[in-house]
Symmetry: C2
Subunit: 426 residues, 2 copies
């Protein structure tokens, strides 16, 4: 395929005209396709429907500690759910609290609590002059919204192939006491799919923060969300690494079953040191009498243990993998072959991050929208929604059917080409 | 029965000796009885077990607006759940948001949000010099814990037979701009069982607060929780009354299904004006992608509508009523007949508040604890846990079996008598 960079002006204009024509044809189709959010597809949701029969009207509702899951209480989660989530997070169940259906809400609450009451006896963020937050980019828009909402100054940290730029992280964390946190998605990072290398994890554990209330917000959202059955990247467990390095209280870990069972009705968990958990429990018991233990019991009985979850995740992978492959083939054949953009081929997670030419992301998203293809807003993977180069687009292939995805990918490629042509011929 | 006030010193000492002997006998029994919390009993929980079969593995999981309840989204609740909760709260579904399993958590979040971001454009509580909160007493301990946690100065408001002392409320709300809220349980109030009169509700609606961000926190926790099938006290609907009175934004209403279906796994809701809800939604969408819609759907399909819920609540009442009657008979026969204390006979709700002689509550709770009967801590129904007269004890007859309750009530009466005797013979 001839690269755009090798085309003459005339060839470029001809190409543009032909694509504009294609675009008009797409517009006439009245399509409604969506690659915007990392939602499980209907086929994936069906995988967990047998879970609905575990807690029927005659089922035993008593959990292992003897609590009736139907009644009030047990704010930190039932034992079998703590064990299950601990097995997925590689943590001792004693260090795991299980909450409700949303790990995002746990993260929000953690930041809110730090803002109003401080962490482990440190002054509340609201009483400190200024707080700053490190944001590896591109990253997860909903993380950034939380820290924006609480007025943190967010600092972009470039993502490398093995994780965030740790020299920059170290420099900021160790020298600036206003730096209170960093958002991390260590495995199959949202949206790049990158997996932190062991060296990156060790570098995190070795940090000596200037602020006593600095914490790593380790959102292990995709801890068992592999795309390939026999290719499971390994990363060291951060909580124990921090403990070994002498910083036992430096991490809050988060995980969720939303992409294991049901997007809206999973269970979520937090793991941390005993100190941190004791501190959190003080708020928790003011906030609620307890989370939904019946849903915790339902998950524990259906998902059972780590090995069983891995088998379950293979079924998800069987549905997701062809979608990733289809999207990757389209990107390879239609864009990369023309010298347009690049992307990392993920081994798990929910996203592909397309790094287009500068100044093309907004235009691509806008053109796709005109054709009825909804993409994540350009800029979303950056704090304040500002991609300095206007080049990153997060693609979420999970929700559409294969047929829808094929069409959506095809249209995306045409729009990306056209957006690039517009910059070349401007 | 001879009243203690009519007994001679010698008679009192003899009575005391006899009760101390009875106490020793109770201690030998190694009892473990609990009248501390308003938990539904196992028999009540069984009433909702058929709900567990509504969402089985073959069930349709799509709600009325076409959303798949298994997936992400719909942060304000599915239409059928909003309609159901609206029917119980007497509000237009448009004014109702349905959340997760805990109405306490909604209230916590509302205060937290007001603290960090303010209400409808007003300065955050955290940036205001001081905030004050009106607390009708005796009241609900978990309400007071929330406002204590956020540093509000809590002011006791005496409860009369028809609700809080509205002259005092009016004086404080209309003249002190630091007064930002009042906790209300308008129907079968926790713990007195009192129902606000229409005049009290109208007086609330007519308030002209000094603070633009003053709100009434109207926790209608027992909106359909009647003990007698044909005696349902009426109170006017506060949201529409406030609107009529020209203060449409002055109320946040809360309700929950925890004591309709399952203590730990109900659904909860908030109702308010369009202005307030729009303000809340801004936070909500940062906080979570949505609450557990499958549990919302389960509730909507099982509870159906207001009339069906009333029929369901009659089954609860059939279990609860004899317990209240048993406890009331014990209080009447063992305490009131001896001129000891008083209480209001509730027509609904979960509690009886025993108003003993001054300086007896702590001692009564302590003596009962020695016999293996756990009561709510003396002082709990007051801000900061301080009952100025040390005389109120909240009794929760719902959770024990009838046999356990009989024994627990008997022991309570002996302990209350003994505590009073100690003050009389000191």
């Amino acid at each position: 395929m001839k690269k755009y960079s090798e085309m003459s002006k005339e060839e470029l204009l001809k190409e543009k005209e032909s694509l504009l024509h294609a675009l008009e044809e797409y517009k006439k189709m009245n399509l409604s396709l969506n690659m915007a959010r990392g939602k499980p597809s209907v086929a994936q949701l069906e995988l967990s429907m047998p879970m609905m029969d575990t807690l029927h009207s005659e089922a035993d509702m008593v959990c292992e500690d003897g609590s009736d899951c139907r009644n009030y209480g047990v704010p930190v989660g039932i034992p079998e759910a703590r064990r299950l989530m601990g097995s997925l997070m590689e943590d001792d169940p004693e260090n795991v609290f299980v909450f409700g259906n949303s790990s995002l809400n746990i993260m929000y609450d953690q930041v809110a609590r730090s803002y109003t009451h401080g962490i482990c006896g440190n002054p509340p963020f609201s009483k400190q002059e200024k707080i700053k937050w490190l944001c590896p980019v591109p990253g997860y828009d909903r993380h950034f919204k939380i820290t924006e909402y609480f007025g943190a100054e967010m600092i972009n940290i470039p993502m490398n192939a093995d994780g965030p730029d740790m020299d920059m992280v170290r420099d900021l964390v160790e020298n600036d006491p206003q730096v209170k946190g960093i958002w991390c998605v260590p495995k199959f990072s949202n949206p790049t799919g990158i997996v932190y290398s062991p060296e990156t994890v060790f570098a995190f554990a070795a940090l000596s923060p200037a602020a006593p209330d600095f914490r790593i917000y380790w959102d292990n959202a995709y801890c068992v969300h592999f795309l390939y059955d026999d290719d499971h990247p390994f990363i060291p467990e951060i909580l124990s690494e921090c403990e070994k390095a002498g910083h036992p209280d430096m991490v809050f870990k988060f995980a969720s079953c939303s992409k294991i069972t049901f997007g809206g009705s999973g269970i979520s968990a937090m793991a941390s040191s005993k100190n941190n958990l004791a501190d959190i429990k003080k708020t928790l018991t003011v906030q609620t009498i307890g989370h939904d233990k019946m849903n915790q019991l339902r998950h524990a009985r259906f998902l059972k243990d780590h090995d069983n979850v891995i088998e379950h995740m293979k079924k998800h992978a069987a549905i997701l993998r062809p979608k990733f492959e289809l999207l990757e083939a389209t990107l390879d054949n239609e864009l990369l072959s023309r010298g347009i953009g690049n992307y990392f081929k993920p081994k798990g997670g929910y996203f592909i991050a397309f790094e287009g030419p500068d100044n093309t992301a907004k235009e691509t998203v806008s053109l796709a929208s005109d054709c009825g293809v909804v993409l994540t807003g350009a800029g979303a993977p950056f704090p304040y929604g500002k991609d300095p180069d206007d080049k990153w687009i997060r693609l979420a292939p999970s929700f559409p059917t294969p047929e829808e995805l094929e069409k959506a990918s095809e249209i995306f490629a045409v729009c990306a080409r056209l957006a690039y042509l517009k910059t070349l011929t401007a």
